[in-house]
């Protein structure tokens, strides 16, 4: 090792030493403070019974379950609202983004107003608006807004019919089989198109397969679908509730509204940037080939625009997932409210619980970005 390499590596060595000493300082400071205050450190508390119930859970849970099960309930609720939020935000964002570029003055102006409105108001205020102003103003069960005696909208939640399958496994396997068949049809059609220029209506064929497979269960009488309708009942002489069916609590709904509408504005701007970023020549070439504007958008512009849209949209997905923690402000039992809220308060183990929660959000975000980066690489144009 000559003098030059040594000289270059000295700043690195100093940085490493500084970094390690800062970490060591914080570690020992925390340790000595916890000892001074007599606080314990350990993860055994996760096995103790939680002793509290949770309003909404996707898995079996009651108060006698251990804290780690409460953690999973919170985690699943967070994932639920994040996945639904990402789906709706993308859908709305795509539509609004494309509308923003419409030649129709009214359509593009409306899109602009929508974007400016929902982008510039803080998310927490929007959340409060949906929960306290809108969903709180819904009627009591006895005066529920009624859609065909099947869907009821009340202040206590939205009640929809429950699907009661008699042979769900058969239906699900036929559904999956149809999807696999669809993939086969699509790749066959692609090969035919690339090698022989023959056009096969792959989409309609796979749709037909799906319909046939899915209804086969019903036709042969193997699968039966019934609905459990929500019905109103007396809690007391003057108080009514609904039972049966599926309850969508207003907390989940308002969080979903707020997250989707807020994030969709950013995605809309990303979409607009992506579409504008595709060279004008592409559109002109497409129209000279006889493509309608709709086809141009779908087959020529959007696939190229996606490369510009996806990286900032990944950011927005991560933001949405993290913003879902605002659920604590409106009683939606997500990870923060259930675990870093109730469990933290009952056990007092602040440091352990907060580190677990932070690690969880970190993992969720990393998983989302890994998946989006993979997708981005897949649709990148390969230089031949």
């Amino acid at each position: 090792m000559n003098f030059n390499t040594l000289r270059k590596s000295i700043p690195q060595i100093i940085t490493i030493i500084l970094f390690v000493s800062v970490i060591a300082y914080f570690w020992s400071n925390t340790y000595s403070n916890m000892e001074y205050y007599g606080m314990e450190f350990g993860y055994d508390f996760l096995k103790k019974a939680a002793s509290f119930d949770i309003q909404f859970s996707l898995i079996e849970y009651d108060g006698s379950s251990p804290y780690y099960r409460a953690y999973f309930v919170g985690l699943l609720n967070t994932i639920l609202v994040s996945v639904l939020g990402i789906f709706f935000a993308t859908l709305i964002g795509l539509i609004i983004g494309i509308s923003r570029l419409s030649k129709n003055y009214l359509v593009s102006k409306l899109a602009e107003v929508y974007i400016e409105l929902f982008r510039n108001i803080p998310l927490l205020l929007q959340l409060f608006f949906w929960y306290f102003a809108v969903l709180r103003a819904l009627p009591l069960p006895e005066n529920a807004i009624n859609f065909g005696d099947a869907i009821y909208v009340t202040i206590k939640g939205i009640y929809v019919p429950k699907f009661l399958w008699s042979n769900f496994n058969y239906f699900i396997s036929s559904f999956i089989a149809a999807i696999i068949a669809g993939f086969i049809v699509f790749s066959y059609a692609k090969k035919q198109r690339e090698n022989f220029g023959k056009h096969i209506p792959a989409f309609f064929i796979s749709l037909g397969i799906l319909v046939v497979f899915a209804s086969s269960g019903f036709i042969f009488g193997l699968v039966d679908l019934e609905f459990e309708y929500p019905e109103i009942y007396n809690l007391s002489e003057t108080v009514f509730n609904f039972r049966g069916g599926v309850t969508i609590i207003p907390e989940l709904l308002s969080l979903l509204f707020a997250l989707s509408l807020y994030t969709s504005t950013f995605i809309a701007e990303n979409v607009r940037a992506g579409i504008l970023g595709v060279g004008k020549g592409q559109k002109e070439a497409a129209s000279s080939l006889g493509f309608t504007p709709g086809l141009t958008l779908r087959l020529v512009v959007l696939p190229q625009a996606l490369r510009i849209i996806i990286p900032p949209t990944t950011n927005q997905y991560l933001n949405l997932t993290k913003n879902s923690s605002l659920a604590a402000a409106i009683a939606y039992p997500d990870l923060v409210l259930v675990f870093a809220g109730t469990a933290l308060n009952q056990t007092g183990r602040a440091i352990e619980i907060i580190t677990i929660t932070m690690a969880t959000y970190l993992t969720l975000s990393i998983l989302i970005s890994i998946f989006m980066n993979w997708y981005n690489r897949r649709i990148a144009i390969k230089e031949k």
Binding site: F52, D53, Q55, F132, Y233, L235, S236, F242, A331, T342
Partner: protein
């Protein structure tokens, strides 16, 4: 001879130094919290975010309530001025971390004394300043007059992270009724949700129900059901590890209660310095050295009684006269049929 004299004088000097140091060390009561409080000249008190009767700030920022009075009593005892308190409004979620991390030195926030909190959360309850129990509130128009009228599917509004959540579960489990818990962080959000009709019933300590009812749109529309489903002994708490501070807070509370027992009020405290009763004289500081034992001046209890009043005065001022709970119920002296029986200050 000179050599041994020198040695001897060195020996004498070191003995004197040692004795001097030791008496210096033994003279002051070793308490980090006490010396910190004296140095900063105020008491750091953790209270609620606004519960009428217990800890509530008015528009000008003046705090009143029975929990507030406990902290004021400690300030009067330690610093001689009951106004030298800094109040930190805490949510149910952050209150214990605030205490154990040193953000506050007393948690006087209508907190229930339970085994798990005492043993697991690194704090000590110094006593009970309010005996309470958990109850339910419903609208009069609902027609429900007792918890026996609760049916499956009832929605219950409550605060998250409190004993209320746990007791609620125990109660409904024992009655085998399925319920929907809607748990908010802030008490105001809970009240608003119940008031708007999101929940069929609101549950918390009965004193809290009475206090929060005053904040509702139509207080007369709501009733508190007669059943009490749990014991809720509410009291102030301090951190583990500082016994001297713990004693000071405990005996400040006890002094207030014992003063009422002996009829000492803020008005007559001075005149009772020449009383015939030695216990009264001890409580007003004209006899005995109780203050020194605690590490305070001997006028510690006199200051409490004169500046804050005895327990009865505090209760009357904050809870009875404001219409929240005119009847003292269990929060009366043992000589009058209540549960307030504290160890004697002697």
């Amino acid at each position: 001879m000179i050599k041994s004299l020198k040695k001897f004088s060195i020996f004498l000097a070191s003995v004197a130094l040692l004795v001097g140091l030791q008496s210096e060390a033994f003279a002051a009561k070793k308490s980090r919290t006490l010396s910190k409080t004296i140095k900063q000249d105020y008491v750091k008190c953790g209270v609620s975010q606004g519960l009428p009767g217990f800890s509530n700030a008015d528009a000008a920022g003046n705090w009143t309530g029975v929990d507030v009075d406990v902290c004021r009593a400690v300030a009067a005892a330690v610093l001689g001025d009951s106004g030298k308190v800094k109040f930190s409004p805490l949510t149910a979620k952050e209150r214990f971390t605030a205490l154990s991390s040193g953000e506050v030195d007393i948690l006087s926030r209508n907190t229930t004394w339970t085994l798990s909190r005492d043993a697991d959360l690194n704090l000590t309850f110094v006593g009970v300043n309010f005996y309470d129990g958990q109850g339910f509130m419903v609208r009069k128009s609902s027609g429900i007059t007792s918890t026996n009228g609760f049916k499956n599917g009832i929605s219950v509004c409550t605060n998250t992270g409190t004993t209320t959540e746990l007791n609620m579960r125990d109660f409904f489990n024992s009655k085998k009724i399925s319920y929907e818990p809607v748990a908010f962080e802030k008490a105001d959000e809970v009240v608003q949700a119940y008031d708007a009709g999101r929940c069929d019933t609101y549950t918390t300590d009965k004193s809290g129900l009475a206090a929060q009812r005053t904040k509702m749109k139509n207080p007369d529309e709501h009733i508190v059901l007669p059943e009490t489903i749990s014991k809720e002994p509410l009291g102030p708490a301090v951190r583990h590890g500082d016994q001297v501070w713990e004693d000071i807070v405990r005996w400040s509370l006890f002094a207030m209660i014992e003063a009422e027992e002996y009829g000492i009020t803020s008005a007559n405290a001075d005149s009772l310095k020449t009383s015939e009763n030695p216990q009264i004289k001890r409580l007003v500081g004209s006899e005995g050295e109780l203050g020194t034992l605690l590490g305070l001046g001997n006028d510690w209890s006199l200051n409490i009684i004169k500046q804050v009043g005895n327990y009865g005065e505090s209760y009357k001022r904050n809870i009875a006269d404001t219409g929240i709970l005119p009847d003292r119920g269990p929060n009366n002296l043992w000589t009058k049929g209540g549960l307030l029986y504290v160890a004697p200050a002697r």
